[in-house]
Symmetry: C2
Subunit: 231 residues, 2 copies
């Protein structure tokens, strides 16, 4: 897979691919809508680096045109259980926004995706944000995405020249069960995905963090077998 | 200098410090307005890495509370003369937006600054963007900054909790001469700053790139001696 290996006749989209269930589904949706998919993963020093291995497997299995992993050291900033080892991952439901929230993460990732979309001449960015089963993160809300779209309409050379980059969030109003049902219909192999905030090096999940609980419930509600490997 | 070394009684601001003339002036303005200044530089693989050495010297000389350099590999994305060695830096005035434009750079840097501001509890971000002598970059325009402010009002946990992060761009409508006059009044030592897009490893400037031409003209217009070392 390389940036130049795909046909030039299809429209390009940049897909933010974390390696989790949502972004794998998002990739499948973008492909089903006819895009050549350029997947972007960010190695930001996350605690659950097994996600990145999962992203590589998913991009390959789902025939992405290209998969790029960009290094960005968010541990230098910290402030989250995912980027600071002194802050623990919560294993019970908490009030308010949990400690797994990473300050400005979605803004930073959408910005990177926008930069790459501009270089590629891609007309869309797909992000698997979800405002239903989403732990209350502020940067997963529809009003945040709308504000980012406004920014994207002004931020780039491409925009000044009249070429639009559309921010697509097809999962934003779906329940986790609806996401899983959609992905299964599109052939996503969820056994490749890693959602757990503290997965081990083999990608096996804890089963008790917020992300695991929401995922497990989603498979139950969708009446699908849960292919997750737990440790 | 560390994140915890400064007094807790003064308000904090994050300053985007590239090591150039504009950001050094911006730091001096933020300090003059009473902020404890937390300087953020981004090592994005820029061609002119002498800038980062300059940023370190400026942060120290101007008594910043803290200076952090975050690694982020924009060479993985490319698309600019500053991040792709196969694209040359223009040495003559060009029509339109020049090849030194880095896709989404200001959006990415403001996003990182927003993340750090949230972790620090800072109420302001200072960025030395300028819409007058600015080479036509789309992400230096007032409407871009206004859109980023709208995004910042929605993007963070801090924002949800009612704490505002203000995006401050005190240079945005100044000419380069006005910026230089302001900085000189505030005691900025411009001999420490590096503006050149292709400075050598000792920080000496080419004198012919866009950035050098605008800077040189600025010192002339401000009737100040140009302290820049040229190679």
């Amino acid at each position: 897979m390389s940036e130049n290996s795909s046909s030039n006749t299809r429209a390009k989209a940049v897909i933010l691919l974390s390696g989790g269930l949502d972004s794998a589904t998002c990739l499948a949706i973008a492909a089903s809508e006819g895009y050549d998919c350029y997947c972007l993963s960010v190695d930001y020093g996350q605690r659950h680096s097994a996600e990145l291995d999962a992203a590589r497997r998913i991009a390959e299995r789902q025939s992405a045109a290209c998969h790029k992993v960009v290094q960005m050291d968010l541990r230098a900033i910290g402030g989250s259980a995912l980027t600071d080892d002194t802050i623990s991952v919560p294993v019970e439901e908490t009030d308010g926004i949990p400690s797994t929230y990473v300050p400005a993460r979605n803004t930073i990732m959408l910005s990177l995706a926008m930069g790459w979309a501009e270089v590629l001449g891609a007309g869309a960015i797909y992000a698997g944000v979800n405002a239903v089963d989403y732990s209350g993160y502020p940067d997963c809300r529809p009003e945040f995405i709308a504000a980012f779209q406004q920014l994207a309409n002004l931020a780039t050379k491409t925009a000044v020249e009249g070429q639009h980059i559309s921010i697509e969030t097809p999962l934003i109003t779906m329940t986790k069960a609806e996401i899983i049902s959609t992905g299964c219909r599109l052939g996503v192999d969820y056994s490749l995905t890693v959602s757990c905030y503290q997965a081990d090096s083999r990608g096996r999940a804890c089963g008790v963090c917020d992300s695991c609980r929401i995922r497990k419930q989603g498979f139950g509600d969708a009446l699908m077998a849960d292919p997750t490997a737990y440790f």
